[in-house]
């Protein structure tokens, strides 16, 4: 089994600032992403899920430990071959959908015909063909998130990191976007890591689910789902689907209560 990315004894500590003590946000934890798998991370709020993604993406350097992508260390710079989709709307409001999608390729100096071809493919794949000349402000939240996914997709990443990309969307849109994400994952054969707080979503989409503890986040378990590669949201009808979600919740219940307590303390 090829390992695409690896974290070894990674922790992240935010140094003390005026009026705030140092915050130990994450770890120490270790994890491996296997080539071509769909891995999700669930955990109570504030447990450092997003920090974990930032370290893996090279958007934040680990305080201790090492991060690797394809055998090379990741140190605060996003490696070539890694694509990131954020929770917040990151589509550029000053560019049309088409120009948003082409953005990364243009900065790389890819030739015009190739950009054309890849943008056509990505906009078509994400169902944005009719909106190519629209501006993000004319689109719904779900469509804007598709623009961001398409913008990552054109760069042909081998590892796609998604930080709660559907967090702001309604339940129906989430389910449909989940199906699209599965289709994208199957057809591009990229490795995907998804951060989410929705247990059903993690269950439905993933081959493996890492369950994190309350802050400082560590993996308390990794659940293998064993779902077929060719799956979609109808998986939820299977009788054994609920069992996996229940398992995730039983692992998370005490941790979530702990996190709730931390929140209350932090608010004081």
């Amino acid at each position: 089994m090829t390992i695409v990315a690896r974290l070894t004894d990674v922790s992240r500590i935010y140094p003390p600032r005026a009026g705030h003590a140092a915050v130990h946000a994450l770890g120490p934890l270790s994890m491996e992403l296997r080539a071509g798998e769909f891995f999700s991370v669930v955990g109570p709020s504030g447990c450092g899920k997003s920090t974990l993604l930032d370290v893996l993406a090279g958007l934040a350097a680990p305080s201790q430990g090492t991060a690797e992508f394809e055998g090379k260390p990741v140190n605060g710079v996003v490696p070539d071959g890694v694509g990131v989709v954020f929770q917040e709307d990151a589509s550029f409001p000053w560019l049309t959908v088409e120009d948003n999608v082409a953005f990364g390729l243009r900065r790389l100096g890819t030739d015009a015909a190739e950009i054309r071809r890849r943008v056509d493919f990505a906009t078509g794949f994400m169902g944005l063909r009719d909106f190519r000349r629209a501006y993000p402000s004319q689109l719904s939240g779900g469509m804007r998130q598709r623009v961001c996914i398409a913008r990552t997709l054109v760069l042909q990443p081998r590892l796609i990191l998604l930080d709660e990309p559907f967090g702001a969307l309604d339940q129906q849109t989430r389910l449909l976007m989940g199906d699209e994400l599965l289709r994208l994952w199957r057809e591009t054969s990229a490795t995907v890591m998804l951060i989410t707080h929705a247990l059903d979503e993690a269950n439905l989409l993933s081959d493996r689910i890492g369950v994190m503890s309350a802050r400082p986040g560590r993996f308390i378990d990794v659940v293998e789902t064993g779902w077929p590669r060719d799956r979609d949201s109808r998986l939820a009808e299977r009788p054994d689907f609920g069992a996996v979600t229940s398992r995730l919740w039983s692992l998370l219940r005490t941790e979530s209560m702990l996190a709730l307590g931390q929140g209350a303390v932090a608010a004081q």
Binding site: A57, L59, V77, V78, D80, V82, G83, V84, F86, E88, D89, A90, F92, P93, W94, L95, F103, G104, R107, Y135, P136, S137, C148, R151, T152, L155
Partner: protein, 249 residues
């Protein structure tokens, strides 16, 4: 059809202003307010006169220099203060204080510093215009959406690309609003600067006309300046709208 529709608002406004002006003239009489038509005729003859041109050039030059200072220095200082958190936090209340201060109270100081003439007018105009430009630019730079910067880093942009392709387009709409307000205030400041202790310019003509109770000239100059301000502001607003076309209104 669309041309008629877009022009209908401004045309109606102009027509009602002219009617109101005429009515006010009927009520106040020629000694306080000349009627619209004679005023425009008077403006036309003034523009035709040789001695009028240097005054317009003087005011125009003073305004352009003041505007250049207010815009360029304003954006420069705004970017620095927006980028450096502590400086920004120290400067902001001072700038807001200066902004609300009636700057005419500082005019004697400006005159003592720069002497009579062009430099004082330019300084006074720039003083009015620069503060909103600094404040808007500072806020634009400070509030630039961090997610755009993270997205830029995730697409491996160089620092240059980050500045040109993300920072500038992300901050431009708000900065431009500052430039627009700075434009109006610079015009105000330049005109104010010409009203006192000046020997040339439209402001000087205005003061002379007040001394001579030359109502037609007063109004003609007012119309000329208003026309300039309205036309310039319309153009700036159109650019502003175009810049904001992408972002949610």
């Amino acid at each position: 059809m669309t041309a008629v529709r877009t022009l209908r608002g401004p045309l109606l406004l102009t027509a009602s202003l002219l009617v109101a002006w005429q009515l006010l003239h009927q009520w106040a009489g020629d000694t306080a307010l000349t009627a619209p038509l004679p005023t425009l005729e008077h403006l036309w003859t003034m523009i035709g006169q040789k001695r009028f041109v240097p005054h317009v050039t003087e005011t125009g030059l003073a305004f352009l220099q003041a505007l250049a200072i207010a815009w360029i220095a304003g954006v420069g200082v705004g970017v620095l203060l927006g980028g450096h958190r502590l400086s920004g936090e120290v400067a902001e209340p001072i700038l807001v204080g200066l902004y609300s201060l009636p700057k005419i109270t500082l005019y004697p100081v400006i005159l003592l510093l720069f002497g009579l003439g062009m430099p004082a007018k330019v300084a006074f105009g720039a003083l009015h215009g620069i503060i909103p430009v600094v404040l808007f630019t500072m806020s634009a730079v400070r509030n630039v959406n961090r997610t755009y910067l993270r997205a830029g880093r995730s697409m491996r942009l160089t620092p240059m690309q980050m500045a040109w392709r993300i920072l500038i387009p992300a901050t431009l709409p708000e900065i431009f609003s500052g430039l627009r307000i700075g434009f109006s205030l610079t015009l105000l400041g330049t005109m104010l600067g010409e009203l006192f202790a000046s020997q040339r310019g439209l402001g000087f003509l205005l003061m002379t006309a007040i001394d001579l109770n030359d109502v037609a000239t007063i109004l003609a100059i007012a119309v000329l300046i208003s026309l300039f301000a309205v036309v310039a502001n319309t153009i700036l607003l159109a650019i502003d709208r175009r810049l904001r076309r992408g972002s949610a209104a």
